[in-house]
Amino acid sequence: MKLALKNLAWPKMHRHELLAAMLLGLAGFLLNFFELPLGWGMQFVFGNAIIFAFIRVLAPQSIVLAISISGLWTLILWNHPWAWLLWVFEAIFIAVICRRNAPVQSDVIFWAILAAPMLFLTYSDIIKIDELSLSLVVIKQAANGILNVVIGELIYAALIGFNPMRKFVNWPRVKLESAVITVLMAIILIPTAFYLVLDAPNSEQTARKDVGGTLENRLLVSGVALNSWVQSRSVVLRMHAEEQFQKGPAPRQAFFDELSPEFDHITIIGNGRKIQWSAQSSGEKMRLVTESSSQSSILGRYGVRLVTSSSQRTRNSRHFAIIVPFSADGKAGIIVAQLRDKLLDTLIAGRGEQSSYGVFLVSPLQGTFPLTQVTEVLGDQVKSLSQEQRVISLQSPVLLPGTGYGDPVMTNWRNAYILRSARVAELPEWQIFAVAPLAPAVSKARMDQLQLFTALIYFVFLITLVAAVLSQKMSQAMRQLLQSAADLADAGMPQNREVGQLIEEVQDISGMIAFAITTFGRERGALARYQRRLKSIAQDAPVVVYALDVVDGTRGSLVYVSESLEDILGYSPADAIDPGWWSHAIHPEDYQACAEAFAGLEAGKVVSVEYRLRHKDGHYVWIYDTLSVEANPHSDAIEAVGVIIDISERKAAAEQLLQADKMASLGRMISGTAHELNQPLNFIKMAVSNLRENAVRGRMDADRFLPKLENILAQVERASAILLQMRIFGRIPKESPYPINVKATVDAVVMMASPQLELDGTQVEVTDKGEVHVRALPVLLEQVLLNLLLNANDAIRARYGSSSAAEGRIKITVTRRNQLAVITVDDNGAGIPAGVLRKIFDPFYTTKAPKDGTGLGLSISYGIVSDLGGVIRARSSRNGARFTIELPLAEAAVA
């Protein structure tokens, strides 16, 4: 108990949260004034909705505080504390006790098990309202309460969607279960509420009109009854009076007997204002009395009418007399007959069978007189009617709300009345008021509403049940799914993550999906921004973007070139769009290759070519051109979009790399070459030295000199031949590939490397099967073969050393297989370990000491062979290594 109280203790809240709760409560209080009337004293109030919207954000005690402030409004409206108490309980139940559940579901449960019984208890026993109204009020309160939570949820969803608010508060996501139940509730509750609100004034008006119509008819009947009575009595009285004047003075007793039930007193005033005779009833009978009375002021000129007959003509008199003018001997006479008490009541109010009606006679001068039995309250209400309302009541029904201070509005409507009035010609100055209770109409309307609300509440329960079952089923399905996933993942799933947690996460995800639509709107804005950026990239990036039309399968004229063309080639886009610019700008050596590459363009084809384009300054720029061909979906035209990239730096780097590798190869052959060159130089030196010595000694005969000189020349030739073999190192490849004889290339390389190979004692054997041509540059293929040959020689030296080198063998074969030229280089050297074999084509990978190898040779060889459209492979065994090069065959050049 103590613990529970502590949990609810206010001081735990932060000051700003307390402030927020109070402001929210105040907002709810004010919002409650905008009530939606449902008719007959019932209304929907929505102040709590705004508080329930923050149920996930604020602390539970803040919600309870806010509701208790907002609920003060009920004290003012309904004059009892029970509704306020109920609201506070509702807040405690949803915010504290069932905090983990969906709020709408919690509220339905609250109303079903707690609130409804409590309302029945308090409203029936303490406030004492009738059974029908009680049921209605309970069911309405429940609908109102649930509707408030639903609206709160919708407001919360809207707030989550409103992005900037995220900065200030942590907004938990709405769970799937909550979202489903909220949406379903909103669908049935909100339209129903609107219908009730729109329908309320109508039904109220109709009920008033119904009651008013009944009263109008009644008044009409009363008027006719009065009129016919006055007419008939005036005829009788006039007839007797005239008869008296002609036939004799004394009326018969039978005449008085006939009139005595209705009249108290009859006086006939004849010509010259002289009372002819007068009769007065005493008890049942009416007798003729002779004494005169002073009715001198009554004039006969107004016709038959009823007047208040009192000797003093004082106020508050409800004694009426019928005044009938008649003609006696050509002179005007008058009959004044005073009506018996209650006679008029019976005439106007009918026979008293319908006691629920009330009839009043009202005169501004005389006062208000009830003709039927009415309650004191009603009497007072009628008496206190304003003059304006009295006039209105002649035309339309007037509502007399049975308001009394300190009663709930609901109750008062049971006591309300409808009032209608009429004037009767026979009663000038008087108005007849008829009132009827509204209660039957109210009951009927409330019965209709009760049926509607009952149906509504059934739906609410049904939906709660369906939503609960649905979410349970979904949870089960997800649990099974996750369980099997967890079984599969087994070790991969952390043990402490329970399935329930995962379900919550999945529900969170569904919540996210529910609000994804909001994100979508933002994404569209982002997309527009990206498009702008893309455009600026096309303008500013160091690439040229272009578009062109494809004509007859080849490049047609350009339709767009980005500004960056000027940075790379010096031409402006306007220059480039000129037809023929492109074909004139291509390097003549690359023209053929470009024409072939860009032939046969069709939709879906992508062409990538490296070639040279002339810069506006005259020099050539290496570019990489990628063209993507597409069919225009709106027309039959074939269009292409392309990108040009400046690759001159890469080309230059590749050339430098190749040159570096060549220099490395040269270094590897230098000792062999030097040895080879030293032989002729040594000979020449010896021969020349001897010639000099001969000359010194005077032995200058030609027979001695000439053979020596011939030998010297031969040795110079030999030295030149060795140097000529080294031409590969001086050449930089600039021309286009052309068909070359592979065997000739192999021979040239063997010749070139022979000094070194001989120095190391390695034997080389070259075999071929017929002439094989490939399209390549000799210098490049030579470089590849030289690398392989020198590597093979190194492998042999690694295995045997230099001294006993006679065992070293390198075997080169050139064959053709299918449409490929195949060159193999076998050695019987050390072979390549498996770990090394995988990496030998990687740049800078070397097994040699830094001075012996750059690690570039095979990488460059790989690049050269790939560029020629071929492949290079390595294989190793105990007996040495084999490198295989496959290149596409080319037809031998005619030249």
């Binding site: 040895h675 030293n678 032989q679 040594n682 000979f683 020449i684 010896m686």
Partner: protein, 136 residues
């Protein structure tokens, strides 16, 4: 076998005064022969290291052997080692290496032999031969 007639008499009095030059390049041998004779040596030349080996053992007059390093059958360094092992203790034969191979790692194990690179410095070579001849 080319023995100079001019020095024939002197050889009997001064044993081990002959020079044998070994190079497997046949063409250059006459020039070596002429060069050594101009310098005043009694010279033999040989293109075959195996034959040269036999000749050194069988000719007591040979006092200096000039040899190439890279040769078929036996390389120069091996030849020197074999001869040193085979020669009797009383014979002193000087060895000189004359090679075209710039990389001299092969002679690292016979460091006491002078090495001349082709094309040889003729005066220095002659001085080295003289030094070798007079040393014993």
């Amino acid at each position: 076998m080319n023995v100079s007639s001019d020095n024939a008499g002197a050889s009997s009095e001064i044993p081990q005064s002959h020079v044998l030059l070994i190079d497997d390049e046949q063409d250059v041998l006459p020039e070596y022969q002429e060069f050594l004779e101009f310098a005043g040596f009694a010279a033999f030349t040989s293109a075959d290291p195996v034959e040269a080996y036999e000749r050194v053992l069988n000719t007591p007059e040979i006092g200096v052997v000039v040899t190439d390093l890279r040769m078929a059958k036996i390389d120069g360094a091996s030849l020197i080692r074999k001869l040193r092992a085979a020669l009797p203790a009383e014979r002193h034969v000087g060895f000189i290496i004359l090679t075209g191979d710039a990389s001299t790692q092969m002679v690292s194990d016979i460091a006491d032999v002078p090495v001349f690179l082709k094309p040889a410095d003729t005066d220095a070579l002659i001085a080295a031969i003289r030094f070798a001849l007079v040393r014993p």
